[in-house]
Point group: C2
Chain length 398, copies 2
């Protein structure tokens, strides 16, 4: 067992640990600055403004955006997705999403379908979690207003061919906005708003970007703000003589007090990602993924889901190992081996249906992070092999 007795492999929920610089930035903000940004003229308020501006600039730089004001800070990834979805769709509109998408996309769309007469098409995936491009092309219509695409699945790690899907949208639906959910990919691999013809891109700040919880972001392509109503309205510290929300960015979408403490940490997290470079983090992730897929693939009774090719996925691996139930297996892994993984239905019911695990309690999910080591991966493989041997009664050479 690892010395620390904690092998954290639930990084798809939130990354842990964070870089030391993130802890320090949070503590320092709380103790030394403490005040609210965007509203005061005193010295510390000005420094608080700079902290938020720096977080915004770092995110914009990481994603190669020209104007950092096109990045809106949100509560979490779901908050950013809700702004994109609920802010862009009107009663009677048509939207398209995919079976790979998370409930943070599926549930707002279901809600709009049931309460506002929004028509929603949900494009199926194959058994490896890949969106069916032909069905996608069928679903996207001239009248479509919003297309929400998951970049990397939080269940199977499957990476979608986003440029190809966007191409279909642009060809067939001139008025559609394209929203990409990059919750499981941003910070994990090189990503740029220049590489894709994307209108909206949402992500939490506390996953691949290594910021604290209580942070999220939405990229809004210049001009798209004219089609996006705010989800939250209120005090912005700007145009305060008016009880109308300002139209300027980012204020239009950022009422109330920022989680400035969290943004101080987010700036530090993004700085760490930039320093290591997303390309190097991706290489690290691919090495772990390859070892995991190979190691787990040889264990009797263990079924892996998602693409076989590590290059087609991020560091999120779902599996089942008969005769264990997912929750039982996750509990055993933690109590006996210190391995912390997620189990069950991972808030993406249609992906579980696609891979055939919706009706049988879901999967066990391992998700790696930048601090995951090859030794930890080996420990996971050995532990599962041991459990398989014990419960299955099958002799496995070790």
């Amino acid at each position: 067992m690892m010395e620390s007795n904690r092998v954290y492999l639930d990084n798809a929920a939130t990354t842990w640990p964070k870089p030391e610089s993130v802890y320090r930035a949070v503590d320092q903000y709380q103790r030394e600055l403490g005040c609210s940004p965007g509203r005061g003229v005193y010295r510390h308020a000005t420094r608080a403004d700079q902290v938020v501006a720096q977080a915004r600039d770092r995110v914009a730089q990481l994603l190669e955006a020209e104007d950092s004001r096109q990045f809106i800070f949100a509560f979490n990834g779901s908050d950013a997705l809700n702004l994109a979805i609920r802010g862009s769709l009107r009663p009677g509109d048509h939207a398209v999403t995919t079976a790979a998408d998370h409930n943070s996309v599926l549930r707002p769309l279901r809600f709009l379908e049931e309460t506002q007469g929004v028509a929603v098409d949900r494009v199926p995936c194959d058994a490896a979690g890949r969106v069916d491009a032909a069905a996608f092309a069928q679903a996207v219509q001239a009248k479509t207003r919003l297309v929400a695409i998951n970049h990397a699945s939080n269940v199977t790690g499957t990476l979608q061919d986003v440029p190809r899907l966007i191409e279909i949208v642009r060809r067939q639906a001139p008025d559609a906005l394209v929203l990409v959910d990059a919750a499981q990919s941003l910070g994990h691999l090189p990503l740029s708003v220049r590489q894709w013809d994307v209108d909206l891109l949402a992500a939490p700040g506390h996953k691949g970007l290594l910021g604290p919880m209580g942070t999220g972001l939405l990229y809004i392509r210049p001009g798209v703000e004219d089609r996006l109503a705010p989800l939250r309205l209120g005090g912005t510290g700007s145009q305060s003589n008016e009880d109308r929300q300002p139209a300027m960015l980012p204020d239009k979408y950022e009422p109330g007090n920022h989680n400035a403490v969290g943004l101080a940490g987010l700036a530090a997290g993004v700085a760490w990602v930039e320093e290591r470079t997303p390309a190097a983090l991706r290489r690290h992730e691919l090495a772990l993924l390859t070892a995991l897929l190979e190691g787990l693939g040889g264990i009797p009774g263990l079924t892996l889901y998602g693409p076989h090719d590590p290059a087609q996925r991020v560091g999120v691996i779902s599996f089942r190992m008969e005769p264990f139930e997912p929750h039982e297996l996750a509990t055993l892994l933690d109590l006996r081996f210190g391995i912390q993984v997620r189990s069950g239905i991972h808030c993406a019911p249609r992906m579980h249906a696609a891979i055939g695990t919706l009706e049988k309690g879901g999967t066990v999910r391992i998700s790696t992070g930048p601090f995951t080591t090859p030794a930890e991966v080996e420990h996971v493989v050995e532990s599962l092999r041991q459990l398989s041997r014990e419960r299955g009664g099958i002799a496995v050479p070790v």
Copy 2:
């Protein structure tokens, strides 16, 4: 000047400093737990669940609610208010608010008025910021669906007679929900959801409750959830086999990852408030307020706004001192005396109109907190007296 060279009097924006226990809880959560609550079966995930449950229980206990599930955690006060307002009003509904209310109430209502045909009445205040009860009674109608009342003004500190206003609503508008914005009062004085006949009560977690930024809360009276649509939808870690939002509390309104780091700090903040007791914190606030009102009242050229009687207000004081512009005065107070206050229009334009400062650049605002000392108050009075003397050229005995 204070030894620390920082006299922070912007507590109405966010309290600073926080108790040491808040800083430690935040740092400890990040370093030792780190994981997301509500979604895992492993040991640390269970401890994370307990942190959130404890924060909820503490808030419920402070406010004397029977069931802690009736408290929803939000991003900030504005987020909680938006959920209450946008979640309860439908196209064509009638709503009432007051001139004392903050833009986090006024702007969502203006938005619904302009985009959804919601009719909004805004009840005026007198020159001390008190809601005109007769006009209020005129505005509240049988068809009214929501009445949003500010408890304590963030401009003048004015405390409204909430029970009396609620009584009018109950008599005249049987279907109306009553929403109280307790942003400037919760944690500052004894407050209980049993003392008022209130349906919804919103507050940030980072002001009087002394939690970190990125926290807010909404109390929902039992049964009111049936009339309140969620503002945000997504993964809840519950009923994950469904792409419909669960109806149960608190999940219905809490999609996505919690700011669990912030909630760990909030639990510590509320514990501190409970230990000191809101009644004792109120006595401290009243002593500071009395000294400030007396001291400032004697300075030539200085005009105080809000009620004369400290018992009718919280520790928020707006003033102007001729011939200074508010921003100029705030800058001078900081640079020369280390006194950090807010200046301008404090996100409540109708209150500024009521007290006559909307068209002339607003006010300077001093807001005290539980760590404000009598010596700091004295320093503020002395500093303003000195500035008045210098600029006004008027000899003032000291």
